[in-house]
C-alpha cells in the first residue's frame, strides 16, 4: 500500500467512525483501533494514540452543532465532568495495580447488562420520579427542539448524585482501560437520570473530549501520536462528526436507541473477548 492510499483509506474509515460516534455519543475508537491494527497492520500503541485523537475530534466536531441546537445540556455536562475527570485520575493511578483482564470481563458484563436494560426501555409513565435536591439546586432542567418529532421536548434530569457516582466509575474505567467511556456514560444518563436518548448521546459526546484531552498530553509526549496516522483520522472523523451532528436531530429517538443497543452488544463482546483471550 502506498502512503497516499493509506491516507485515503484511513480518512474514509474515520469518516464512518466520526459519523456513528457523534450520533451515539461514543468516541469512534471502537472502529478506528480495530481498523488500524487488524486491517492496516498499524502498531497497537500508535493505533491507541490515533484513537485518542479520534475521541477529541468526534467530540469537538459534533459538539458545536449539538450545543447550538441545545441537544447537549451544558450545565449537566459540566457537573458530570467532575465525576469523569476525578475518575480518570483515579484510573490512571490504579492502572498498575488492578489486572485489566478482570476489568475487561467485569465491564463486558456491565455493558451487556446495560444493553438489555436499554432495550427494555424505561417505564417512566409508571411512577413519577422525585427530582431530588441536587438536580434542583444545579438547575439542570432544559429543553430542545426535536426535528424528527417536530416538537419542543422539555425534560428534567433526576438522581444527579447517582449520575455523578456512575460518571466517576465511567471515568475510572476509561483511565484504566484506555477506552472512550461513552458506552458507559450514555446508559448511565439514560437509565439513572431519565434523559431523552438524544440528550444523553449529545451530552456524552460533549463530555468525552474533555476526558480524552486530559490523557492526550501523555500520549503526545510518549510519541504515540504519529502525525501521518493521526492526520487522516482527525480529518475524516471531523468530517463524519459534522455530518452526524446535523443528522441526529432529524432521526427518530427509537432508531438512535436501537443503534446504541447494537453498539453496546458489540462493545460487550469485544471486552469479554479481550478479558478471556488476553
Amino acid at each position: 500500500m502506498t502512503p497516499l492510499l493509506f491516507v485515503l483509506v484511513v480518512a474514509a474509515i474515520s469518516f464512518v467512525a466520526g459519523f456513528l460516534g457523534s450520533l451515539l455519543g461514543l468516541g469512534g475508537g471502537l472502529i478506528v483501533v480495530p481498523a488500524l491494527t487488524i486491517l492496516l497492520h498499524v502498531d497497537i500503541r500508535l493505533a491507541i494514540g490515533a484513537s485518542i485523537v479520534s475521541v477529541i475530534a468526534t467530540s469537538s466536531g459534533a459538539a458545536a452543532a449539538f450545543v447550538r441546537d441545545r441537544l447537549a445540556n451544558i450545565r449537566l455536562a459540566m457537573f458530570l465532568e467532575l465525576g469523569t475527570a476525578t475518575g480518570a485520575v483515579t484510573g490512571a493511578y490504579l492502572a498498575g495495580i488492578v489486572h485489566p483482564r478482570v476489568l475487561f470481563i467485569l465491564f463486558g458484563l456491565i455493558i451487556g447488562y446495560s444493553a438489555l436494560a436499554m432495550l427494555r426501555g424505561r417505564k417512566t409513565e409508571d411512577k413519577e420520579v422525585e427530582v431530588g435536591p441536587w438536580a434542583r439546586v444545579l438547575r439542570l432542567r432544559s429543553s430542545y427542539y426535536d426535528d424528527a418529532a417536530g416538537e419542543h421536548v422539555e425534560y428534567q434530569p433526576v438522581r444527579a448524585r447517582i449520575g455523578l457516582a456512575l460518571m466517576y466509575i465511567a471515568g475510572t474505567v476509561s483511565g484504566l482501560l484506555g477506552i472512550g467511556s461513552g458506552a458507559l456514560k450514555v446508559p448511565a444518563m439514560d437509565l439513572a437520570m431519565d434523559l431523552p436518548i438524544k440528550v444523553s448521546t449529545a451530552t456524552s459526546n460533549f463530555m468525552i473530549g474533555v476526558t480524552a484531552a486530559a490523557s492526550a498530553g501523555v500520549y503526545f509526549s510518549r510519541g504515540q501520536i504519529d502525525p501521518f496516522i493521526a492526520a487522516p483520522v482527525a480529518a475524516g472523523v471531523l468530517g463524519g462528526a459534522y455530518v452526524g451532528a446535523h443528522t441526529l436531530g432529524r432521526i427518530g429517538s427509537r432508531a438512535v436507541r436501537a443503534a446504541f443497543v447494537v453498539v453496546l452488544v458489540v462493545v460487550a463482546a469485544q471486552m469479554l473477548w479481550k478479558g478471556m483471550a488476553g
Binding site: 502506498t2 502512503p3 502498531d43 458545536a64 452543532a65 482527525a234
Partner: protein, 127 residues
C-alpha cells in the same frame, strides 16, 4: 442569560476545529509536496507508520518544525490545537459563569479545569 453560554461555547469549539483542520490539511499537502515518492512508494508507508518512526513529540520540536515549514510539524500543531480545544472550552466556561456570577458553576467548572490542567501538565512532564 443561558443563551450566551451556549453561543460562546459553540463558537469556541468551531474556531478550534477550523484552525486545526486548516493546519492538518496544510501539513498533509506540504508532506506530499516534499516527498513525491509517497504517491507511489510502498516501503515509505512502513517507515511512516512503524513504532520507531521519527516525529515531533515535544512542544519545542513542533514549534521549530512549523518555523521550518515541515509537514509533520504542521500536522502536529493542528493536532495540539484540536487537543487544546476541549480544555479551552472548560476554561472559557469558568469565565462565562464568573461574568454571570453563578458561584456554584464557577466552582464546578473551576475544579474540572484544575484537574484537567494538572493531569495535562503531569502527563507531559512524566509521560
Amino acid at each position: 442569560m443561558n443563551d450566551r453560554i451556549y453561543t460562546v461555547i459553540s463558537v469556541v469549539l468551531r474556531a478550534g476545529v477550523i484552525a486545526s483542520v486548516i493546519l492538518i490539511v496544510t501539513g498533509m499537502i506540504v508532506t506530499f509536496v516534499h516527498h513525491p515518492d509517497y504517491f507511489s512508494s510502498r516501503p515509505a508507508l512502513g517507515r511512516l507508520t512503524s513504532p520507531s518512526a521519527h516525529f515531533p513529540n515535544t512542544l519545542a520540536a513542533v514549534v521549530e518544525g512549523v518555523r521550518a515549514w515541515r509537514g509533520q510539524a504542521l500536522i502536529m500543531a493542528g493536532l495540539l490545537v484540536l487537543i487544546a480545544t476541549p480544555v479551552a472550552r472548560v476554561a472559557l466556561s469558568v469565565i462565562i459563569f464568573a461574568i454571570l456570577r453563578d458561584w456554584l458553576y464557577i466552582a464546578i467548572t473551576g475544579v474540572v479545569l484544575a484537574i484537567l490542567l494538572v493531569s495535562f501538565v503531569v502527563g507531559i512532564v512524566a509521560g
